[in-house]
Structure formats: structure tokens, C-alpha cells
Symmetry: C2
Subunit: 225 residues, 2 copies
């Protein structure tokens, strides 16, 4: 547990699914922290100091030491505060959790994003197909578990918050069916469980402003066709 | 330590820097294993069975259970066999090792590859610049350490075997200067230390056939211009 003298801070952007991962992990652990909202159009000196390589959020700062990359931050948090483990204890289960988390970053996030926010029609279609194919793997993987982590939220659930909260927003904006109860019933049920889990619910940004923000982005993109 | 009844196997391709990472890790741990060379033009049933998601090498099999993704395999090996630790013991140092390993995959491997194996001249230039920028970060990071891991090889060194062995081959083929003693003296010295480290030396493929293989690939690509 963080002692009162500890410095724990998170640099994020409220609409970022990657910053949200870190918020969920900290909430699960019950760690208090200072949240610093960044403006990516005018990055703070702190962000440039703490993440000189990528200059991106999230950045996690613990007693003056900074870490970037959301999944790496989540593992650090899990190794630093032992309560409510996020990764399984067995090496093989840990490897699987890391595999599916990486899979979400490599195969789902980019494809789902480009399925909506791409002008080129063909590229949109290719990305929609890729996203669907990737979601099918996750539909098969969740099986009849409540969460990817089993009865409790684990690394894969945290990584997949993008699927549960952000995909429904962007698919509505782009008038696409990516995650629906018809196509992926198990994954859809899981997504409902996840967004209603207390640690997740309290970490998610409010839906309306995020929806409005992405809607404007989408309309600007469509206007540039 | 692996007992004699244990099944430890690696599905790889001799020219793959990713399979080589796993070989180095197993060598450092002194774990005996069965190596199965794959033909990616005609993938084995075993590969399709054990890596149905990506259908790629390396795949690591331990007592019937399979793991894919080279860095995830290396972490699994480190967690399963305790001798000669590959990751540092402190969470912050572990996070940094994971950060730089991911950086190599995200920023170095693809860019260096495309700097050579791309027909489009402009794309080649962009990728060359990106690769150089990424290597500069690593030049700054290695400082005066023998290895990224300090006195001993660690996760970042294993991830970076691509830089030490594969970049010199492909830059010669593409007539490019990426990793040279003039441009990146510290990284160059590190690369010499690394390829001559016994665990690495014994895990690397023979240079000549790899050079010949990539040379043919490069010439076929140039001919298709």
C-alpha cells in the first residue's frame, strides 16, 4: 500500500483508453494518486521530461521515476502493490495474459480505429474485416468465463477496456457493427460486465463528451474526403 | 532446471531473429530442448496447432503447452527456470527492460527492415531516418555499460540481437550505414560484445547462408522495381 509520503502520479488524457488502463489498475489496488490531465496539442514540460522517447500518455510517475507504455505500467503496478493481483501467479497463465493483451494492442485497437477513422473505403473494409477476425479470437477465448481473468478482472480485461467502452462509441459514430450481441454474444456480455465493474466504472471517462469529441473528428475526416 | 522427463521444444526458422531470442534465453538457462525447424512456405501441422492465432515462429512448447511471441516466451523462460536471471529483480528496472525491448520491436526492427527491403525510394529514406533516430536512443541508453543488462546479458540485449547480428547483414546488402562504429560507437562496441558472448555465439545462425538468403530476396525485390 502506498504510504502517505509516496509520490504517485499519472499523466493522461481523459479520452485515452491507454490512460484508462492505468486508472483501472490503480483503482483495483486502492492506490491514491495525483492525476494530471495533458493537452496533447500543447504538451507539458513534465510529459516531455518523463517520456522523452514517445512523448505520449500515459506516463506513470512513482517517487520521481517515470514509466511509459500502458501495459508495462500495469505490470509495474501489479509488482509494486501486491493486493488484488492483476496477473496470474503461474508463469504459463501469465504468458497467456501477456499474449492476449499484446494481441489486443496489435490486432484490435489499430484495426477497429481505422475501420472508423479512415477516408479510403477499401482500407475501411480491410480494417473492419481485420477487427472482426480479431474479435472472433477473443470471443472464442472468453468462453464462459465472467472475465478473461476468471472471476476477477485481470491484465487482459484491463487491456480490453478499449473493446468494452471505446468500440461501442466509435462503431456508433462510424455506423458499423463491430461488437454486437448478435455477432459476439460472449464478448458482448463480458463488455457489459466489465463496464459495470466498480473499478472500471469509476475509471471510465463520461461517455457523452468522448462521443461528441470523436464525432467531430469523424465529421471533419468525412468532410475532407 | 528441466528434469529429464520434461518436454521442451522450440519451433523456429534458422534466419529468424525472434527465434534466436528464445535460443539465447534457453542457452543462458542451460535448458536442453528439441529444436524443430519450420518451413514457412509449408507450415507444419504442429505450428498451426500451437500458434493458431498468428501461425508464426517462434513457438515454445513446454510439457504440451505452447507460447508465442518471442519476448513473452523469454519472460516465461525466465520465470520458469531461475538460474541466470534475464530480467532484473526490481519492478522499476523490470519496467525499463520491458520498455526498451518493446521499443526495439516497435521502432527499430520494422524501420531497419524497410530501410533495406522497400522498393519505394522515399519510403526507404523515411525508414532509414526512423531507424537511425531509434538507434540514437539506444546509443544514449547503453552509456558505458557492457550490456544493456549491466555486466550480464538481460532482456534488452536479447531483444536487441537483431541490431547486433541482423542489421550488419542487411545494411551491407542494402548498401546503407545504420550501425557503424562512427555513428554509434557505444552501440557498435556493445554489438561486438554481444555477438561474441558464448550464449549468443552458440545461438546465432551461420552468417553466410543468412547473408545469401537475404541477398537473393533483396535482388528479387530490386528486379521487381
Amino acid at each position: 500500500m502506498a504510504s502517505s509520503e509516496e509520490e504517485v502520479a499519472l499523466l493522461g488524457v481523459s479520452g485515452s483508453p491507454f490512460a484508462c488502463r492505468v486508472k483501472i489498475a490503480l483503482k483495483l489496488k486502492g492506490v491514491e494518486y495525483k492525476y494530471l490531465e495533458e493537452n496533447l496539442a500543447n504538451k507539458s514540460d513534465l510529459l516531455l521530461k518523463y517520456n522523452p522517447v514517445h512523448k505520449k500518455v500515459p506516463v506513470f510517475v512513482h517517487n520521481g521515476k517515470s514509466i511509459s507504455e500502458s501495459l508495462i505500467i500495469v505490470e509495474y503496478i501489479d509488482e509494486t502493490w501486491n493486493q488484488n493481483p492483476i496477473l496470474p501467479s503461474h508463469p504459463y497463465q501469465r504468458a497467456l495474459a501477456r499474449f492476449w493483451s499484446k494481441f489486443i494492442d496489435d490486432k484490435v485497437v489499430g484495426a477497429a480505429w481505422k475501420a472508423v477513422f479512415t477516408v479510403d473505403e477499401k482500407e475501411r473494409e480491410t480494417n473492419t474485416e481485420e477487427a472482426m477476425k480479431a474479435l472472433q479470437f477473443l470471443e472464442n477465448e472468453i468462453k464462459d468465463k465472467k472475465f478473461f481473468g476468471g472471476e476477477e478482472i485481470g491484465l487482459v480485461d484491463i487491456a480490453a477496456v478499449f473493446i468494452a467502452f471505446w468500440i461501442p462509441i466509435v462503431q456508433e459514430i462510424g455506423d458499423l457493427d463491430l461488437l454486437t450481441s448478435q455477432k459476439f454474444p460472449k464478448l458482448y456480455n463480458w463488455s457489459q460486465e466489465l463496464v459495470n465493474h466498480p473499478a472500471v466504472k469509476e475509471s471510465l471517462p463520461p461517455r457523452d463528451p468522448i462521443f461528441a469529441y470523436f464525432k467531430v473528428r469523424y465529421e471533419n475526416l468525412s468532410a475532407s474526403k
